[in-house]
């Protein structure tokens, strides 16, 4: 199986690392990003070292994705492969090191996003699962379920103009970008339900009050930690500015200490 530095890791079984990988999934507007940030604050306040990572954020494929999107030349397969490359790159440089170091990695979207979206674009379901076999299976995946009307209302009322691929315009589902977005999100929801079933994701009702949802999220995480206690630092007392050397250059970030 594809190995990343000695240990053989596949999506089919538990990873061997001391850290924990927690992923949040859901359609745009499901509230997952809000919830994962709240989870991060709660964990950090208790002294758990946390690393946060986001879908499609690797510098390696940014240019390719941007260019393909601008020219509308992305096909379902190239779209899928660029995202798989993004995750492979972030795994090697961002996700695996903290997992190996015993940290908690919070991932805003993970492979289930690809399973859902790529299937809607018509890519073979079993093919997508096979290519993502290189990714370690999360210890916990939280799925934020909202009806399509709620998700779309949140996005359409609160936001800027929709983008071509985000609205699934490449699929030719509808004439207007808004109508296409609604149809596309609806299809992704159906596909997500299939994935929830297949991988037994923890489902959170995304229509609940934000704090109620967060309570449920924390319950799931507590259960996970009860199974395997995690290392903590002393409870943080302040913030420290650190220089982070990334491929894009040096970034300043504040960390709790």
């Amino acid at each position: 199986m594809p190995s990343t530095g000695g240990t053989v890791v596949t999506f089919r079984e538990r990873h061997p690392y001391p850290g924990k990988l927690i992923a949040v999934e859901g359609v745009d507007g499901s509230g997952k990003s809000t919830q994962v940030r709240l989870l991060q604050h709660w964990l950090e306040a208790q002294g758990y070292p946390v690393f946060f990572t986001e879908w499609n954020s690797s510098e390696l494929v940014r240019d390719a994705t941007r260019q393909g999107k601008k020219k509308n030349t992305l096909t379902p397969t190239t779209f899928s492969l660029l995202h798989a490359t993004d995750l492979a790159d972030r795994l090697a440089y961002q996700i695996l090191p903290p997992l190996k170091a015993g940290m908690i990695v919070l991932s805003d979207r993970y492979v289930c996003t690809a399973f859902a979206r790529d299937a809607v674009r018509g890519v073979d379901r079993s093919w997508v699962r096979k290519i993502y076999d290189y990714a370690p299976r999360p210890d916990l995946t939280l799925y934020f379920r909202v009806p399509v009307s709620v998700a779309c209302e949140r996005i359409l009322s609160a936001r800027r103009t929709l983008k071509f691929y985000e609205a699934g315009m490449d699929l030719g589902l509808a004439d207007t970008i808004e109508a296409s977005f609604v149809e596309f999100q609806g299809r992704i929801l159906v596909e997500y339900d299939r994935v929830v079933e297949e991988y037994g994701l923890a489902v959170i009702d995304g229509q609940l009050d934000i704090r109620e949802q967060q309570d449920q999220v924390r319950e799931h995480v507590k259960k996970l930690f009860a199974l395997a206690p995690m290392r903590r630092r002393a409870v943080p007392t302040g913030r420290r500015r650190v220089q982070m050397r990334t491929r894009e250059g040096i970034k300043i970030r504040e960390v709790r200490e």
């Binding site: 390696l60 390719a64 030349t73 096909t75 397969t77 790159d89 890519v123 096979k130 290519i131």
Partner: protein, 245 residues
């Protein structure tokens, strides 16, 4: 030539068509074996024979070229990203160049094809099942010719034409003390794997340790088996019969 598309694996379920009229010919072989020269000559020969020809080559898609260059320059690629970027490059060329050309009845000459990824990944220690699954959307070519060469013939050829480069020498794997040793070990392993793939995928094996013209004639003979080649056509301006004085 022409017929339903067949794929190595899961294929492209969303394609709105299943049949193509053209012919897909892959020319495989290691770095420096003379593939591009041969592809060039084949292209002209096919055109003379009346075929529309589209040429495509490994990593020639603009989509991921910068990502590949950037990553190679900083040596930031691990095996997975390397393979995935190659697959993205191939998918882009497949759907935006190769398939449209095949649909319109062109002969597509592919300078390297997916077997190149299979060979490289094997040498880099990847799981051969995974890489075959990854390229499962690749159509099976109508003909795959393999330019076979041995190290003794390959080395001087590569040195004469610009020398050994970092990636073609497998320097990322540190397969030797210096670039020469690494090249020998890496290309040696690669050639071994190509030979194995030739049997697995039924390549037409062409001895590439010969002069250019001989290799070309050999390739043309193999292609003539899958593509009807007309007998030398009458010239446009008939040559007047020589007058006897």
């Amino acid at each position: 030539m022409s017929g339903p598309l067949r794929f190595y694996g899961d294929g492209l379920p969303y394609l709105p068509y299943r049949e193509v009229k053209g012919c897909l010919i892959a020319i495989e072989g290691t770095d420096g074996v003379g593939r591009s020269t041969q592809v060039d000559l084949l292209k002209r020969w096919l055109q003379v024979n009346g075929y529309g020809v589209v040429e495509t080559g490994w990593t020639r898609s603009k989509l991921v070229q910068r990502a590949l260059d950037m990553a190679k320059a900083g040596n930031l690629l691990n095996r997975m990203t390397f393979s995935l970027l190659y697959a993205a490059d191939f998918a882009d060329r497949l759907e935006n160049v190769i398939l449209p050309a095949l649909r319109s009845g062109f002969v597509v000459l592919s300078d390297r094809y997916v077997h190149t990824a299979f060979a490289r990944d094997h040498v880099r220690g990847a799981d051969s099942r995974w890489i075959r699954d990854l390229f499962g959307f690749a159509p099976i070519p109508d003909l795959a010719c393999y330019l076979k060469i041995d190290l003794d013939h390959l080395i001087p050829r590569v040195l004469e034409s610009g020398g050994m480069n970092y990636w073609e020498s497998g320097m990322d794997l540190r397969m030797g003390e210096d670039i020469f040793d690494s090249f020998k070990n890496y290309q040696g392993a690669l050639l071994g794997e190509y030979d194995r793939l030739a049997r697995e995928f039924g390549f037409e094996v062409v001895d590439a340790a010969r002069p250019i013209g001989e290799i070309q004639r050999d390739l043309q003979e193999r292609i003539a088996k899958v593509l009807p080649i007309r007998p030398p056509a009458a010239t446009v301006h008939p040559v007047p019969a020589p007058t006897t004085a």
